[in-house]
C-alpha cells in the first residue's frame, strides 16, 4: 500500500518537549564558568529532536512497519542465511549478568562470561575442525582481514616476504579481494569452469612462490561444493601457501564436513548467519576466526583459557598481529550464538545443515522448468537461477525481484555472483516450512508466466509497497545525506 511520507523525527520536534527522565542532580552544582571555561563550551546546542515519549514510540513503530524482517515473511537472500533469530537468544543477551559487564572488571568478577567465551571457542573449534578460535573480529569482513593478517605474519616470520598474492575465485564475494588488499596483498582471480567450480588447471598455473593464500568459500557462492577441495589444498600447500575458508556458507556443512578436515588453515564464521544471531539491519554481527596450530602464535590477544576450574584471559602471544578490535569482540552477539549452540546440540546442528540443503534442492527442482539453471548438479544450502529467458521477454532480474515484493517476500540476492548472467541467488534456510517454500515457488512460477503474458506488471513492480521504485541516480548525483534545520540544502 502506498502511504504518505513518514515525517522525519526532526520534523515532529517542537521546542520545549521532552522524552527523557534524567536522574535528579543530588549534589550542589557549581556555576557554569567553574564547570567549564567558556572557551571550551559549545555555543549552539546540537539540533536533536524534542519529542514526547509516545511520539517517539509512534515514530519508530511507524518506521518498523515500513521494514521487512525475517519475522515479517520469507527472506531467501542468498549468501546471507536469513534464518529464524530465536527469541530466547534476545532474552539471554539481556540478562544483567551479560548486558551490564564492563570490560575492565577483573577476571574474578567475570567468570561466567569467560566460561561462556571459552565454551564458545571450544564449540566453534569443534564445528570447524580448527585448533584455536579467537572471538575478537566483529564481522565476516573483519574476520577475513584478521585471517589474512595472520597468514601474512606466518609467512613473514618464515622470512617469506615474496608471498604477495592472494588467489580468489571469480565467483567470490567482493569483500574477499578487498580484504586481501587491506591486508597488504594483491588479489588475483582464478576462473571457474563450466560446472561452476574452481578451474584446477588455472589454479595450478597461478599457485607458486608468490602465493600467500587461496581464499575459498565451500560450498561456493553458486551453492556448489568444491569437490576437488583436497586436491586444491594440496596444490596450494605444495606451493607453500595457506588455505583460507570464508565461512559465509557454513550453514551447508555443520556436522557433515569441516574446513579443518578439508585442509583449510584459517576459517572465519559469520555468527549472524549460521548461528542465528540477528542481522540487525546490517549489524552488529560477529566474525570469529579459527586457525590451525602453526598460526596460533600470531592470534590477536587475548583468548580465553581455562586453568583448573577457573577461566582467564590469555595474553601470551608474543608474535601476535596485534589487536583487531578493542576489548573482547562482540560479546553480546557471542552470547546469542552460544545460546543457540546449546539449544541445538551436535545432532541438532547436523539436522540444520541437512534440512537447509534439502530445502534448497527442493526449490531448485521446482523452479528448474521455469528459469534457466546454469548448473545441473545438486546444490548445497543455496542455488542460482539465471533470468536469461525472461530477459529476452524484456523482463530483467531486477523486475522479478521487485515483483516478488508484491507477494510479501524479500527477494533473493540478485546480480551476484557476477559470473552468472541475470543472476538470482536463493537461500531458503532450514527454518522455513515446506508450505512457505511452495508458496514462494508458486509466486516465482507466476512471475515467470507473467513475463510471457503480461510483462508490464513485472516491469512496473512493485505495486503494493509504501514507495515505488526509488531514483538511485538522483541520490548519487545530488547527495542529500542528512536533514538540515532550515532549508533542505544539499550536502
Amino acid at each position: 500500500m502506498r502511504t504518505d511520507e513518514q515525517a522525519l523525527i526532526f520534523e515532529l520536534s517542537r521546542e520545549g518537549r521532552i522524552g527523557h527522565s534524567l536522574p535528579e542532580l543530588d549534589i550542589d552544582p557549581v556555576d557554569e564558568q567553574e564547570l567549564l571555561p567558556s572557551k571550551y563550551r559549545r555555543q549552539e546546542p546540537a539540533e536533536l529532536p524534542q519529542v514526547s515519549e509516545l511520539q517517539l514510540v509512534r515514530h519508530y513503530t511507524a518506521l518498523s512497519r515500513r521494514n521487512h524482517g525475517v519475522d515479517s515473511g520469507f527472506y531467501p537472500l542468498g549468501s546471507c542465511t536469513m534464518k529464524y533469530n530465536p527469541k530466547i537468544n534476545e532474552d539471554v543477551a539481556r540478562y544483567p549478568g551479560f548486558a551490564h559487564l564492563h570490560p575492565y572488571q577483573p577476571e574474578s568478577q567475570l567468570q561466567g562470561a569467560l566460561e561462556l567465551m571459552y565454551e564458545l571457542q571450544q564449540s566453534l573449534e569443534a564445528v570447524t575442525g580448527m585448533d584455536q578460535v579467537t572471538l575478537q573480529p566483529a564481522a565476516g569482513a573483519h574476520g577475513e582481514w584478521t585471517g589474512l593478517m595472520l597468514i601474512r605474519a606466518f609467512h613473514e616470520a618464515n622470512g617469506d616476504y615474496g608471498r604477495t598474492k592472494v588467489i580468489v575465485p571469480d565467483s567470490a564475494h567482493g569483500t574477499n579481494p578487498a580484504s586481501a588488499v587491506v591486508a597488504g596483498f594483491d588479489a588475483v582471480t582464478v576462473r571457474s569452469n563450466d560446472e561452476g567450480l574452481v578451474d584446477l588447471e588455472h589454479l595450478r598455473e597461478l599457485a607458486g612462490e608468490d602465493t600467500a593464500a587461496l581464499m575459498l568459500t565451500n560450498p561456493n557462492t553458486l551453492g556448489l561444493f568444491e569437490r576437488d577441495i583436497v586436491e586444491m589444498a594440496s596444490i596450494i600447500h605444495e606451493a607453500g601457501g595457506k588455505l583460507y575458508y570464508d565461512g559465509a556458507n557454513s550453514n551447508a556443512i555443520l556436522g557433515m564436513t569441516r574446513p579443518g578436515d578439508m585442509g583449510f588453515d584459517v576459517v572465519h564464521l559469520n555468527l549472524h548467519k549460521t548461528f542465528t544471531t540477528p542481522h540487525g539491519g546490517g549489524g552488529p554481527g560477529s566474525g570469529p576466526v579459527g586457525v590451525k596450530q602453526d598460526l596460533v602464535p600470531y592470534l590477536p590477544a587475548p583468548i580465553v583459557a581455562k586453568d583448573g576450574e577457573s577461566y582467564r584471559f590469555a595474553w601470551e602471544f608474543p608474535d601476535s598481529i596485534g589487536r583487531v578490535k578493542p576489548y573482547y569482540g562482540n560479546f553480546g552477539i557471542n552470547v546469542r550464538a552460544y545460546t543457540y549452540i546449546r539449544t541445538m546440540g551436535p545432532e541438532g546442528l547436523r539436522q540444520v545443515s541437512r534440512q537447509a540443503v534439502l530445502n534448497a534442492n527442493y526449490m531448485l527442482r521446482r523452479l528448474q522448468p521455469y528459469f534457466d539453471t546454469p548448473y545441473e548438479q545438486h546444490c548445497k544450502h543455496e542455488f542460482v537461477l539465471s533470468g536469461k529467458r525472461q530477459k529476452k521477454l524484456g523482463v530483467r532480474t531486477l523486475d522479478i525481484a521487485k515483483r516478488l515484493l508484491d507477494f510479501g517476500y524479500h527477494p533473493p540476492t540478485i546480480y551476484f555472483p557476477i559470473n552468472v548472467e541475470e543472476c538470482l541467488m536463493i537461500e531458503p534456510t532450514e527454518t522455513e516450512s515446506k508450505e512457505t517454500l511452495d508458496e514462494f515457488c508458486d509466486a516465482m512460477i507466476q512471475i515467470a508466466k507473467e513475463a510471457e503474458t503480461n510483462p508490464e506488471i513485472v516491469q512496473e513492480a512493485p505495486h503494493t509497497t509504501v514507495v515505488s521504485r526509488l531514483d538511485e541516480t538522483q541520490a548519487a548525483r545530488k547527495p542529500v545525506l542528512r536533514w538540515e534545520a532550515k532549508e533542505e540544502a544539499t550536502v
Binding site: 517517539l56 537472500l77 549478568g97 580484504s179 556448489l224 546490517g282 578490535k325 578493542p326 539449544t343
Partner: protein, 448 residues
C-alpha cells in the same frame, strides 16, 4: 514429527521433497563431499538443552558475573554505563528492525533507511560536521579506518597519534597500519595532554594525519584550537576521536576545523556488554564525502515524487570496487545505530546538555571530595567525566579492597602505561549517586 521447534519439516515433508528432487536418501545430496573429508563422528559440542534447562544454564553463567547494575562502578575508559531510557529496548525489539538485513531492497526497507538517515543527521549535528556515515563496528576501528582513509587521500604514509588516545585504539590502529605498510608515530602526552612541542617535532611533509581524542583517554579536554593549527600547517588531515555525550557541553570538533570525527555512540542507549557490540560513528567534511568507508544513506524520490531513502554513493564500496575498494567493510552496526538514535531522540536537544552537564558536575564533585580527603590529582586541566588520581598503594590492591566494600573502582592505568600502577582513572556518570560517591571517597580514605 519434526525434530526441533526451529526445524519445521516433518518426515512426510522431507519424503515429499526428496521425491520431487528424485532422490531416495538425503545422503545423495552430499555425494560430492569427498569420502575422506566427510565428518563421521559426533560434533564435540555440548548436548542440546530444552528451553527450561537452557534458561537455567544461561542464568547460571550470567549470575557467576558481577554486573555493574548490582555494584556501583567507577570504570569508564571508553565504555560507560549511562541512563538508557526504557523505550530504547522496546523499539529495538520491533523485529522488523532486528531480523532484517542490509536494506538492499529500499521499497521494503524504508524504516531502516530513514532511521539511519536520522542517525547520520544526529551525528553530524553533534560533531559539527557536514555529514556522517551509517556507523562502523566501534570507535577504535572507526579511528583506524579514518587513518587509512587519510593515508589514501593524502597519499602519505605517516600517522601521528597522541599517547592520550585510548591505548586499545592505538593498538587497533597499529594492526591496520601494518596491513597497509603505514607508519604510526605516537606523540607523547605531558601532564595528561598531547604535547604540542612533540607534535610539532614529529610533524612533516610525510604526515597523513594527526589523531587526538577529545576528551582524551585521561578525561582531559585537549586544546583542539592549537592542535588544529599544527595539524593543518601542511597537507595532513586532522582527525578527532570524541565521546559524543561530551559534545552536549563541549565545542564540537567540527568548529575547530576537524576533517574527520570518529568515536563510539555507546553512551547513547547501548549497554556496556563487556565491550561489544557498540557503535562506531564516522563524520567528515563535505570534501571527503566520496572517500568515506562504509554505508551511506541518502534521500531521493520514488517514481511518483514521494520522498524515500536509499543506500547511496556505493561506487566507493567493496561489492562494486572489489580489490580497488578503500575499505573492506561491508556492514555497519545498524541496530546499535538505531538504539543510539532512539536514545538521542528521547534525551533530546536540551536533555543532552543536561546529561553532559550532570556528568561534569558529578565528576567535579567527586574530584573535589577526593582532594579534600587528601588525594592528589594527577592532571590539572579541564576534564569531562573522568580524571586520574594518585594512590598510595597499587590500584589493583585498592580495587580489591573497594570491591569488598561493594564498589567497583576505576581503571588501573598500569594496565597500559608502565610505572603508572598507582594512577587510577575514575569515571563518574549521571548514574552515580551522591551516596555512592561518598562511599568511594570513604573506601579510598580507609586504605591510606
Amino acid at each position: 514429527m519434526s525434530s526441533h521447534r526451529y526445524l519445521p519439516s516433518t518426515e512426510q515433508d522431507q519424503q515429499a521433497m526428496m521425491e520431487t528432487i528424485g532422490i531416495d536418501s538425503l545422503e545423495e545430496l552430499f555425494a560430492d563431499v569427498p569420502e575422506e573429508v566427510r565428518f563421521q563422528e559426533t560434533l564435540n559440542v555440548p548436548k542440546a538443552l530444552k528451553e527450561t534447562a537452557l534458561i537455567k544454564e544461561m542464568q547460571r553463567l550470567a549470575e557467576k558475573n558481577t554486573n555493574v547494575k548490582d555494584v556501583p562502578s567507577f570504570l569508564g575508559a571508553g565504555v560507560y554505563e549511562h541512563y538508557i531510557p526504557s523505550v530504547v529496548n522496546h523499539m529495538l525489539l520491533r523485529s522488523e528492525f532486528f531480523t532484517a538485513y542490509t536494506p538492499y531492497q529500499p521499497e521494503i526497507s524504508q524504516g531502516e533507511l530513514q532511521g539511519i538517515f536520522e542517525f547520520q543527521t544526529m551525528i553530524a549535528e553533534l560533531t559539527g560536521m557536514d555529514l556522517a556515515n551509517s556507523s562502523m563496528y566501534d570507535g577504535p576501528t572507526a579511528l583506524a579506518e579514518a587513518a587509512m582513509m587519510s593515508c589514501g587521500v593524502t597519499k602519505k604514509k605517516q600517522i601521528l597519534v597522541s599517547e592520550a588516545v585510548h591505548p586499545e585504539a592505538v593498538e587497533v590502529l597499529r594492526t591496520n597500519a601494518k596491513g597497509q605498510n603505514l607508519e604510526v608515530t605516537v606523540i607523547e602526552a605531558t601532564d595528561g595532554q598531547t604535547s604540542l612541542d612533540a607534535l610539532k617535532n614529529s610533524y612533516s611533509d610525510e604526515t597523513a594525519c594527526v589523531i587526538v581524542q577529545y576528551p582524551n583517554f585521561f578525561g582531559q579536554i585537549e586544546d583542539l584550537e592549537e592542535i588544529e593549527k599544527i595539524a593543518h600547517s601542511k597537507k595532513a588531515h586532522f582527525i578527532v576521536s570524541s565521546n559524543p555525550l561530551s559534545l552536549g557541553m563541549l565545542q564540537p570538533p567540527g568548529e575547530f576545523g576537524a576533517d574527520v570525527v570518529v568515536g563510539d555512540a555507546q553512551p547513547f542507549g547501548i549497554p556496556t556488554q563487556l565491550g561489544g557490540p557498540h557503535c562506531g560513528y564516522f563524520a567528515v567534511t563535505k570534501k571527503l564525502m566520496r572517500k568515506v568507508p562504509g554505508r551511506l544513506v541518502g534521500e531521493t524520490v520514488d517514481e511518483d515524487g514521494r520522498r524515500g531513502f536509499v543506500l547511496t554513493l556505493q561506487a566507493r564500496e567493496q561489492h562494486i570496487r572489489r580489490d580497488k575498494a578503500t575499505s573492506n567493510i561491508c556492514s555497519n552496526q545498524a541496530l546499535n545505530a538505531l538504539a543510539a538514535s532512539v536514545a538521542m531522540s528521547a534525551i533530546g536537544k536540551y536533555g543532552l546538555q543536561e546529561m553532559a552537564s550532570q556528568n561534569m558536575q558529578k565528576a567535579l564533585y567527586t574530584k573535589k571530595r577526593l582532594q579534600e580527603a587528601g588525594f592528589e590529582l594527577v592532571h590539572d586541566g579541564p576534564f569531562f567525566n573522568e580524571f586520574v588520581i594518585n594512590l598510595p598503594k597499587p590500584c589493583e590492591q585498592v580495587n580489591e579492597s573497594l570491591f569488598d566494600k561493594g564498589i567497583i573502582g576505576g581503571l588501573d592505568l598500569g594496565r597500559f602505561y608502565e610505572g603508572r600502577d598507582h594512577h587510577m582513572l575514575i569515571a563518574v556518570t549521571e548514574l552515580r549517586t551522591k551516596e555512592e560517591i561518598e562511599a568511594l571517597v570513604e573506601g579510598l580514605e580507609g586504605l591510606k
